[in-house]
């Protein structure tokens, strides 16, 4: 088949100390350059799965291998921008490079490049409190891009934003993913968002968290908002919706 997976998750289970079984026997391989959406109701273990991939927590069973060990190869974006309020935008974006010990000149170039990617060149010396929610998320995205990662993990990154801002950030993300040749794993609760963004949608079920359906929506390269109006898009949304409905039993959505 295609090239070796960037991330290989094999028979992974995670049981937290309190006894919550967050994930059971998850097997998933992530192809290089792919855009995978993890879709499911709250509590289906998506955040846990991303933390496992990032190596922030250890699996109770199974194994996770990444073809890029070492730091700086994974970027992580949370639902909150999680910026350091005491540091201006440039220093926030520089944080990963700073921690990894890059020299100043290289850091400055990378920060400038990352800010340009998200369209915030003008705001390098602004403090987070002066920025709108959408701009804060852009800073958060720039910070994740600064270390030039191979893999970008996004945990409901735009869920707290208004729809207009969210759509713009989605388009920017598609552009950046293509330009930087990124592998993306994107958690969302929205069927429409997942089908719009991803070229693969993995539907997860809760209690315990596990993948139950795997779609390849085959979003056209260079897609834009017009794609939302096509019948291909609508059809795929319908199919994915059905899988989600099956998971939640048509109730408590």
């Amino acid at each position: 088949m295609s090239a070796d997976p960037v991330v290989q998750i094999e028979n992974v289970s995670k049981i937290f100390e309190g006894g919550t079984e967050a994930l059971r026997d998850v097997t998933l391989s992530i192809a290089p350059g792919s855009f995978t959406a993890l879709l499911g109701p709250s509590g289906c273990g998506t955040s846990t799965l991303l933390k496992l991939i990032a190596g922030l927590i250890r699996p109770s069973a199974g194994s996770i291998t990444s073809s890029f060990p070492g730091r700086g190869h994974m970027g992580y974006v949370f639902q909150d921008a999680t910026l350091m309020p005491w540091a201006d935008v440039a220093r926030n974006v520089a944080m990963p490079l700073d921690l990894m010990g890059l020299d100043e000149a290289e850091t400055r170039i990378r920060v400038a490049t990352a800010l340009k990617l998200v369209g915030l060149e003008e705001f390098a010396s602004a403090y987070p409190r002066a920025l709108s929610g959408g701009m804060k998320m852009r800073v958060s995205l720039a910070r994740a891009l600064a270390s030039k990662p191979e893999v970008l993990l996004l945990d409901e990154p735009f869920a707290a934003l208004d729809e207009i801002t969210r759509n713009r950030l989605n388009d920017d993300l598609i552009r950046i993913a293509a330009e930087e040749n990124l592998t993306i794993i994107f958690v969302t609760h929205s069927v429409f968002e997942s089908v719009y963004l991803a070229d693969r949608v993995v539907v997860m079920a809760p209690r315990p968290g596990r993948p139950v359906a795997d779609f390849e929506p085959m979003a056209p390269a260079g897609r834009d908002q017009d794609w939302r109006l096509t019948s291909g898009y609508t059809e795929m949304c319908g199919k994915v919706s059905e899988a989600v409905q099956a998971v939640v039993g048509g109730a408590d959505v």
């Binding site: 990032a54 922030l56 994974m74 992580y76 350091m84 990894m100």
Partner: protein, 262 residues
């Protein structure tokens, strides 16, 4: 009149008004000086005893500042230790609280005996530090516990060392709370120094508190007021300096420094 001018002038105007009222009333009612001296007499006492009062103010200030600095470093240091080891926190914290809730006046005689009257300065320093220490410890402990979990995760993701995490994440996160603790602690250090001087008593102490006792014994009420005035000026100066430090460090980014229309 501009808002800033109003903010500066209005308390000054009130102060001058009260002083004039005080002077007038003391004269009109013919209040004896040993009951309540007027502002002019107090000022006169300040001028006559200027050298000795300033020397005393300097002595009290030195103890206060030293106690504040020791409390700052010890409090922050212990809080960091607590954040690194839950066991240490569980073991030590109750004793820190016990030290805090026991009135310093009650501990003072014991400390004085242990340290010895020949090293009175050290005894005063220890007592003032005990009083000033707790707000720093509790503010820093709370601050270190409240560090954003997402940021902690990111620091781990990028392989930050403990030292990097402390300097670049934990201390900056704690700074606003620490500065509040420092303002409380600065005032308490002065109170601690004064109380310790009172307890230390005759002959040995040289600070402002002792001048007050001494003047009281001689019924030199104007001098008492003059020393009291210097004490409160010390307290106000410490508070203003720490507020200025807070403003300088937080003004660019902290919510408490944002001016809003409504």
């Amino acid at each position: 009149m501009s808002k800033t001018a109003l903010r500066l002038l209005s308390p000054i105007m009130l102060g001058i008004g009260l002083l004039v009222f005080w002077e007038v009333m003391v004269r009109a009612l013919d209040v004896p000086v040993f009951v309540l001296p007027g502002p002019l007499v107090i000022f006169e006492a300040l001028v006559t005893n200027f050298a000795s009062l300033m020397a005393s103010a300097w002595a009290t200030l030195t103890i206060t500042l030293a106690a504040f600095l020791v409390a700052l470093f010890a409090g922050v240091g212990l809080a960091i230790l607590f954040s690194r080891s839950r066991l240490v926190e569980l073991m030590v914290y109750p004793y820190a609280v016990a030290l805090q809730v026991t009135p310093v006046v009650a501990i003072a005689p014991l400390i004085l005996i242990w340290v010895g009257y020949e090293r009175i300065e050290l005894a005063l320093l220890i007592l003032a530090t005990i009083v000033a220490f707790f707000p720093i410890l509790s503010a820093t402990t709370l601050g270190l516990k409240s560090v954003d979990h997402g940021l902690r995760d990111l620091f781990r993701l990028y392989g930050a060392s403990r030292w990097q995490t402390l300097i670049k994440l934990e201390l900056p996160s704690t700074l606003p709370l620490l500065l509040t603790g420092m303002k409380t602690s600065g005032g308490l250090a002065l109170i601690g120094a004064v109380v310790a001087e009172f307890v230390a008593g005759s002959g040995t102490a040289t600070g402002l508190a002792w001048r007050i006792v001494e003047a009281g014994n001689r019924l030199d009420i104007p001098k008492m007021f003059a020393a009291l005035l210097l004490l409160s000026l010390l307290g106000i100066t410490i508070f203003l300096l720490l507020s200025a430090l807070e403003w300088a460090l937080l003004r660019k980014w902290h919510e408490s420094m944002v001016k809003r229309e409504s």
